[in-house]
């Protein structure tokens, strides 16, 4: 190929420079820096009243520098400063034995395992229900309204009952917690997949009709591939909700371990920094899980001839 200057973008820039300019790293860093700055500002703003109050009670003289320094080092701040959270996370992950109950990774793992189980069950259940709804008119008409109603029941209210009932029939351990995740996560999947399974164009369905394709064949060769974009989008939402469900599900099982237990214990004992580090761990977990689904999406859609 004989490149003619001007018609083809120049490729002269160094690879590192290009990576920075076009990759994700730089934008993320800049956005992150902006968020950090805002966070620090809020730390001072939100913690100042308490700090000033403390100065006055102690009768100490103070300056603005004192205030900034001290608002970032409170023991139970309204909003902990980023470095406090980072220090706490560092100390409770790397700074502690991995098997110890004080290690945050240990708790994250407990939560992750029920998240994944619940997500898998929820995705399967959601897809099955969507298949039923799309293929069976009685189900479409009668089940869907109740699926919706089920989602309006506040889980935290019935979770204890679910756990008690499950315990009564001999189910305990991971599964009851995971079922809370399932309960929350199947819904986005149902909604998305019903839409997705119904998204093939009329002409494509007609084509399958001319082949007298069975419901199964139409499903696997047409409806399923056509629904994939909806599936992945729903799965991103579902995996995130699943994590929320797993954490909520940890409460009625005695909240003995997992990120939910950490959050709760942090809140009982007023350890804001601990709450925030558990929150961050949960958020990071969610980001990773959503990222993995996104990656799977990109790989699958690329294999299916997706245009970039």
């Amino acid at each position: 190929m004989t490149a003619i200057a001007g018609t083809i973008p120049s490729t002269a820039a160094s690879p590192l420079h290009r990576r920075l300019a076009q990759g994700k790293t730089l934008p993320i860093l800049i956005v992150l820096a902006a968020l950090l700055a805002i966070w620090y500002a809020f730390t001072v703003y939100l913690n100042a009243p308490w700090q000033i109050d403390a100065y006055e009670r102690a009768g100490t003289e103070w300056t603005a520098t004192d205030l900034v320094r001290d608002t970032m080092a409170q023991e139970r701040p309204v909003l902990p400063s980023p470095h406090q959270v980072v220090a706490e996370i560092w100390q409770t992950t790397v700074g502690t034995r991995l098997t110890s109950k004080r290690n945050l990774f240990y708790h994250a793992w407990i939560t992750l395992s029920s998240t994944l189980l619940g997500f898998a069950l929820g995705t399967a259940l959601g897809i099955l229900l969507a298949v039923g709804i799309v293929h069976n008119r009685a189900m479409d008409k009668s089940v869907m309204p109740w699926v919706i109603a089920s989602q309006t029941i506040p889980i935290l209210a019935i979770a204890p009952m679910i756990i008690v009932v499950l315990n009564a029939i001999g189910l305990s351990g991971l599964l009851p917690k995971a079922l809370i995740s399932t309960y929350l996560s199947f819904f986005p999947i149902v909604v998305g997949m019903v839409k997705g399974f119904r998204s093939p164009e009329a002409i494509q369905l007609d084509l399958m009709r001319t082949y007298n394709a069975s419901g199964r064949q139409t499903f696997f060769k047409l409806r399923w591939p056509a629904a994939l974009p909806y599936l992945f989008t729903s799965m991103k939402v579902a995996v995130a909700i699943s994590l929320v469900g797993a954490i909520v599900g940890e409460l009625p099982t005695g909240a003995v371990s997992g990120l939910g237990a950490r959050l709760l214990a942090g809140s009982y004992y007023g350890q804001t920094v601990q709450i925030w580090s558990a929150l961050f761990m949960a958020a990071a977990l969610a980001a990773v899980l959503v990222g993995i689904v996104g990656l799977a999406q990109r790989l699958a859609l690329a294999r299916m001839g997706g245009r970039s």
Partner: protein
């Protein structure tokens, strides 16, 4: 179509002379957001086994609709129709026809070869036979070399050819083709016309063919059905006196031009109604 021996007859083969399509007083009205649209009105037509019938008529007159009724993709609102002596639905269930749609309708997530293999997969052909048939029909429509491409990587005409290949890959006794060659250049079109005619002459297929090209209709058909604008009615049915054996240059004979003229007159009469 030189792989003739491999072409098998399907289970349901009507006897010669038997009616393949038989429509009586057929009518179809669509109900739309602003009032009903009558697409077909009082269509009487019968197509015998082994015939090659072309449908020609102004845009929007109901040609596609009629083909869709035969294929059991649309339910008539009046009159009756039988296909292969059965209801259209039974015929469809027997997989007794192949349909080429007006738009290519390829599945964007399948490569070209996978698209052509789709009906074969559904009908349970073995992997080896699938491969063989896909290769053969893609060759027939000059798409060898594009097996691994996705539809959006093909030109409009190539997509249309892929959809023709898809309908020819399995051997249905009845072919319903809706402007299959509309987006093709004259040379390729001539080539495919010849191939189709050969295929038809060699086997006992019945073909219903929608086209806008008068020469194409005359060249291919044993009978030409001229339709009038909405509501679609059959205004003229022209029998072709041409022999079964038709070299391309038959198109310059007086008989041919005479038939073409009659078709054009029929069409014009329809348009005058407008």
């Amino acid at each position: 179509m030189n792989a003739e021996p491999a072409i098998r007859q399907h289970a349901i083969s009507p006897q010669p002379g038997q009616k393949v399509v038989e429509a009586r007083g057929l009518g179809l009205t669509f109900h739309t957001n602003d009032g009903p649209v009558q697409a077909l009105s009082n269509v009487d037509l019968s197509v015998a086994r082994g015939e090659f019938v072309s449908f020609i008529g102004p845009s929007g007159c109901g040609k596609t609709t009629f083909l869709r009724v035969i294929a059991d993709l649309e339910q008539p609102t009046e009159g009756a129709i039988s296909v292969n002596g059965m209801s259209p639905e039974e015929t469809r269930r027997a997989r007794a026809y192949g349909y080429v749609f007006q738009a290519a309708g390829l599945f964007p997530w399948r490569t070209i070869e996978k698209n052509v293999a789709l009906p074969l997969e559904i009908m349970g052909y073995s992997r080896a036979e699938r491969r063989e048939r896909v290769a053969r029909t893609l060759d027939l429509v000059n798409l060898t070399g594009f097996e691994r491409k996705f539809p959006w990587q093909l030109s409009g005409g190539m997509q249309q050819r892929a959809s023709i290949a898809r309908a020819l890959a399995f051997d249905a006794d009845l072919l319903l083709m809706d402007e299959p060659f509309g987006a093709l250049d004259e040379i390729v079109r001539d080539h495919l016309n010849e191939q189709l005619l050969q295929l038809w002459a060699r086997t006992t297929k019945t073909i219903c063919f929608v086209t806008h090209s008068i020469p194409e209709a005359v060249y291919l058909s044993t009978r030409i059905v001229v339709m009038s604008p909405r509501p679609g009615r059959v205004t003229d049915v022209i029998e072709s006196p041409l022999p079964k054996e038709r070299p391309l240059d038959i198109r310059e004979t007086p008989e041919f031009l005479e038939v073409a003229h009659r078709v054009r007159e029929g069409l014009r009469a329809g348009h005058a109604d407008d």
